[in-house]
Symmetry: C2
Subunit: 156 residues, 2 copies
Amino acid sequence: MAAPKHPRPCSIADALALVGEKYSLLVLREVCLGNGRFDQLVRNIGAPRDILATRLRRLVDAGILTKRLYSERPQRFEYRATRAGLELEPVLMTLMAWGDRHLHPDGDRPMVIEHSCGKPLAAVVTCAACGDPVRHEDLTAHPQAPGWTVSGPEAA
Amino acid sequence: MAAPKHPRPCSIADALALVGEKYSLLVLREVCLGNGRFDQLVRNIGAPRDILATRLRRLVDAGILTKRLYSERPQRFEYRATRAGLELEPVLMTLMAWGDRHLHPDGDRPMVIEHSCGKPLAAVVTCAACGDPVRHEDLTAHPQAPGWTVSGPEAA
DNA sequence: ACCGGTGAGTAGGAAATCCGAACTCACCAT
DNA sequence: ATGGTGAGTTCGGATTTCCTACTCACCGGT
């Protein structure tokens, strides 16, 4: 992911350049759950330690995580999500909702997140303006920058 | 991404095993925009052709894309999203919203998606049960399967 | 018939990444 | 003095990725 190769300007590509590498989003999952220590991350994610160290540096540089000292002597660190990092959690929830629906169709979800309203969270992406759920059929692309060529949907 | 190494059962990890490889989500972006032909994908994503071919095979196998013949002679193909693929589009919209907010703070978004309600789409992830936006503070994890050890959030 | 162009890949080797295990270093506990 | 934990770094080798070039089938013009 070093040379982002931007044939098109795109916030999706830009975001993925920061968090699209292997393990990055799983790191965020663990950090959001409160498991922010290096060895916890190694165990819970199953990533090689050196890769994890690289990812953590990158995420800290990107302003998504911070590295906090939680014990002076012995020196011990913990990674936490910044506000920008916490705001990526909805992405994880949306991904989880998709995985629950399409990969665990029998309802045997490996993990349930409870929302403050008391119900198990089922994440739905909505339009902030009208509140309706976002469906493909309701979307129309309007490129703002050069580099885009978009075909309208053709007849099925 | 070959050996998924599941230290924990997790729909997020499962979903990322399918679409978390480099370029996969960008392929989905293009396909959702209607640019589903091989050479369009190559140009618009900037991926090497062989990698792209590998990704496309994987996404078709996973049931996220289908490969359709749109011209017999000369034989020409087009990739399209299945329903499962289209249901990943909200993930892209959420990621785009995050990128717009955190990576293009000046409002110079490279691309605007218009919603059928007439407004530019600002994607918000909400709880299906209560309709409130999902914020980190409102979530509590409840592992359903063994392999999870979750620390509650500690005092700041 | 010949030439150039397009679409959809495949082939080959160099470059970058990833992996697992071992190693370090600092500290604490017995 | 020995062992254990946390937080990494180092090492060589395996795996992927990248880039360029090539193929193969077809079409369109002259």
